[in-house]
Symmetry: C4
Subunit: 372 residues, 4 copies
């Protein structure tokens, strides 16, 4: 651990973002056709290691179905417009067309509408009826209130996702969610995060979670660093949590908790890097918000963007560039890493000589100055 003196009374560790690193080829190359990017968590197998982030600009029930059919997992935000409004399309349209300076304020109002349990049930049933794996996400704050509704509606994977989720939340005013007890009693496998360090992730693994989300969510659209001074660059965060996975595997006598990079994954190159430093899969926000089918229709925002008194993110324009299937599998007619994400991942693995995702976590990584 490279520990640096910041000043007499403080030391700090140097940490790295995906932009700071790159992967490099070794002595062997392979055919992209020979590469597998399949991924299994609990009883669920996926052809591609891609989870669509539970953000209203990314996943609607129909997008969740489509991503499932394409081999990934679409996670529906159960605290978003689909569970607050019977007809969310009009509000999505309004958010998309708000002028910049009013966007935050109006989103705060729109998201103050209460969540309707019957809509939670309805949206999840819609996905389930299509036959794909069903996943829905709640924040830790809402989990106790809504999890029964969610489980009764039938989810295959339960996602608890917040800016920072710890195994040990302490509160003076209310009994917080006891994650360990909650997960133990639940029949459904749980994916939980964001976590961004070795210790918090290790504690989350000890709760019995099947997967840990690494990062703070929101990615491109987030201003957490300016607002809270908190920042955990993703390359270090993922490599730290991968270290926790390794140590927990030993400590637990063989339980492999999946590490899912969540944030800072704008291009296929970022996905490659996430896996190169230890991720088993990636949760994509802005990268999929660019799909023509995405509910944001080229706009993208996270829950931080409409926090009622401390918004920590922006609605950002990412553009609509291609259908979802083409964004994932190509062909691409652009050269900026936004289309053919899976093709690029396979090409990168083949070029550096690896056949599957687990092996590729061992690829050589370098630190190279970022330009522009």
């Amino acid at each position: 651990m490279s520990d640096v003196e910041i000043g007499r009374a403080k030391r700090g560790r140097r940490v790295y973002a995906f932009d700071d690193i790159a992967v490099v080829p070794s002595r062997r190359t392979r055919d992209p056709e020979d590469v597998s990017v399949s991924w299994t968590i609990d009883a669920f197998q996926f052809d591609i290691p891609v989870l669509a982030a539970p953000m209203d600009s990314v996943v609607s029930p129909s997008v969740a179905i489509q991503i499932g059919k394409l081999g990934g997992l679409g996670v529906l935000n159960l605290e978003g417009l689909w569970t607050r409004y019977e007809e969310p399309e009009l509000l999505l349209e309004e958010i998309r067309s708000l002028p910049e300076e009013l966007a935050t304020k109006r989103m705060q109002e729109i998201y103050s509408e209460p969540i309707k349990p019957e809509l939670v049930t309805g949206r999840l049933s819609e996905i389930r009826s299509s036959g794909v794996t069903v996943a829905g996400a709640l924040s830790p704050q809402r989990t106790q209130e809504l999890y029964k509704t969610v489980v009764d509606a039938g989810v295959d994977l339960f996602v608890i996702r917040g800016t920072t989720v710890s195994a040990e939340h302490v509160s003076k005013s209310h009994e917080p969610l006891n994650l360990k007890k909650f997960i133990y009693e639940l029949d459904v496998p749980v994916i939980v995060g964001g976590a961004a360090g070795y210790t918090p992730a290790l504690h989350l693994m000890r709760t019995g979670a099947a997967g840990v989300l690494v990062g703070f969510g929101g990615g491109a659209a987030s201003t957490t660093r300016a607002n809270l001074g908190i920042h955990a660059p993703m390359a270090t965060a993922v490599a730290d949590v991968a270290g926790a996975r390794r140590d927990y595997l030993d400590e637990s006598g063989g339980r492999y908790v999946h590490v899912i990079a969540d944030g800072g994954l704008g291009t296929s190159g970022d996905i490659v890097k996430a896996i190169s430093v230890g991720a088993d899969a990636v949760m994509l926000g802005s990268a999929l918000a660019r799909a023509t089918e995405a509910p944001g229709r080229g706009m993208h925002w996270g829950a931080e963007a409409h926090h009622p008194n401390l918004p920590r993110g922006h609605r950002v324009e990412v553009g609509s560039i291609a259908p979802l299937e083409q964004i994932l599998f190509g062909p691409s007619t652009v050269a900026d890493g936004t289309v053919n994400l899976i093709g690029a991942l396979k090409k990168s693995m083949a070029t550096t000589g690896y056949l599957d995702l687990k092996e590729f976590q061992r690829v050589e990584v370098v630190l190279a100055r970022y330009k522009g």
Copy 2:
């Protein structure tokens, strides 16, 4: 201390700014409601660790009163327009509306008007009559001339603030202020600075000061680096002075001198970072100049900006974005770290698991490349 060879005949230490660092969560999270940000210096207790900087664009007598009522401390500049002019409003208006290229020159003229002791007395009385804690600031150069007026007018905290204030000023032409003797003889607790290193701060602590200001003042508006080649990035500066506080605590057998970060604190994230590396409180300039009540009405300048022959700062436009109370306590409808400063500080402390400011000085800090 990481000491680097610059060239054969010179070595230098690597130092860090707030932008170079970030705080990271640990294994525990808390509720923001459970967090206390109160702060006590000498006999004075404050709900929030915020001092408004003695700059004409930030603190008028009425702003000082308002900040006091909101739980902080407004420090009036006793060498500014309020003590030079009976009716400073017209001159503030003129400064605000000067075209860019004439601003420095005209400010030099406006500030050449002599200080009127009776106005010092009057302005301080106005604040005192409101019942809030009274604080006024002089530069070291003016302290001998004016301190009796100030003390007689009744201040609770006496601030001596300059670009660089040392415990040992040497002059061939005049008898300089003997800080140690001055502070010893004064009944009122003294806050003194700027200082930006371990040794100068330790010497200031030995003068008997109750608090030390860390930094050079002026922050965003300052061009000291281009003009004087002098630069002390704030993360290292605060951590160094916190080191001096610790060593002086031992040396003095228990006197705790407060460390107040003063400069480079434009966003709530910066305030978080200042405390994370050891500050007990922060003195805010530009962050409060953005209040609709601030006398600068969206313009901001420090004393360096109107130095008669060597100006080392600019009048900068920071904008008027919200009332003072909302800037401090929210709610916010923007996501850039300029509104709800205290809410953000509490949220950051809660997210990283800390309950009070003193504990939060132990939070884990990382060095992360700054982007844009």
Copy 3:
């Protein structure tokens, strides 16, 4: 090797680009007129250590002839427009004038036209008849299909060039090119690459290659980092491969394999740096695409830019600035390092006190922060 911890489960090496380094003078200076920049590979001697890259925007048969007469080596792309079309000029003209947003898509179509073996023969014969050294390039994928045609047409140097070429390509679906066997059986000396690390380059050297291309090709026009997450900054890449050359020289009992920097060489300063870290020669793309004779007429693109489903490069505008001879030998009337490449190389060698390229590989190099 400076190995840094990225996070708990991953370490990485810090690597450097040409922009990160500079050469510095030593105690002796010389006359540029006394400096030799000649270079010999196999039986072929060249006055200048310059190979023109096999890219359609850089080398046509007539440019290959012209470069040969100027003392360098023009390498014809045998999978480009000249071997796909009888009359490539119209298509070059079309590519040059395509609007930005259509360029990639239309290039994909144009390059889907099959390669005609008779055109391979014809283009190479045209070059051969001029009397200069003849060199043509194939990708590894096409080598088995076309090499007999190429050899029969008569090449002096055979170039196998791809984004990443390894000595050991593994495929499940087809029998890959066995480079070692191929080179052993071929009568013609082979230059092969890109390779960008010690180990892959050492393995390429063991195949019997006469030269190794260092880099990924494409340089300025490439977006490999954003697409594949792969990046090998050139200063480190060349110095690593030069290390492989040294070790292979020992291992083989004296076989000197030439190291040719290929990529990131936009200015004369970059050429200087490539040799300073160990290159024997340079392969230039954009630097020569700026010649008025270049087929791109100011536009520049590589094979990555028209990949059928994963384009990883752009058509970029480099401008037409001077005739080829003037770009190489001056005089220059611009000061940006784009004209009089050889004059600048000689001047730099003279200023730092070196007389030939091999000696100049020992020049002192520093790491200096890049500005803009």
Copy 4:
């Protein structure tokens, strides 16, 4: 010496520019009025440690006189327009008004006019007649041809200035200037450079020079890095040469050779930093080209900008901002470090507690990330 591995076959040292460093205050402060910035070289004493660079945009005979009267030393370029043309004013005017794209080419033509020895004599006599110290500069290439004319005209200090000047120039075609013999035989003290490293500077000191210029000249207007790949950031360069001064002082039994920073000195902050790392004085180009009296009238260029076949610099616009006296001594009405250079130097020395230039070379220096 911090030596870094660039790649397997190459190591390099990390070096620093003025922008990378800053000076910091220590425990004592002083009055600027008490500070002396006087400087003595050989028999000549100067009130200020400023040499005006021998560049046509900076020093005319009348400017040389004016600078002398202000306490500094103006060095006339003896290979410039004043010694090539009887009436240089028209040509200066033409250069100033050339459109950007024609500037280099037309300057090449204008400077192809031969130098007239009688003009050398005349210009120097004009300066001498004013009573100030007389200094003229030749390039090493012209020194043998013209030095007698120069010495006969009467110079007090003889400056030999080139991009890189070594004590040991080797040529196959002509007998190069033997600096050691030349300086030994000359009655006049010689200042020679640029040199930018410990070893080349030590060798120059051994020739008997009274002062060494550190840097490559040209500064802001230079493109040496892009053209030649050569770059010697000034903070390291000056500190290295100061190391050579110290070692040569010992080796020679007490001969103190003056170190003059020459290049990269655009602001008063840069001048401060040059001295902080060991310079005895500074040679200013762009900083004085901004004077209303400067012959460039707001435009600035060096000899590299009109090199006949390899120009390595640009004519740049620096603006005319104040009379020479005000640029040096203030008062300033701008805050960007371009006016009141000496006032700023004194203020910086006083703030950090130093009384004279020699002491100030011991000030504490830090490495701080440069912003914008």
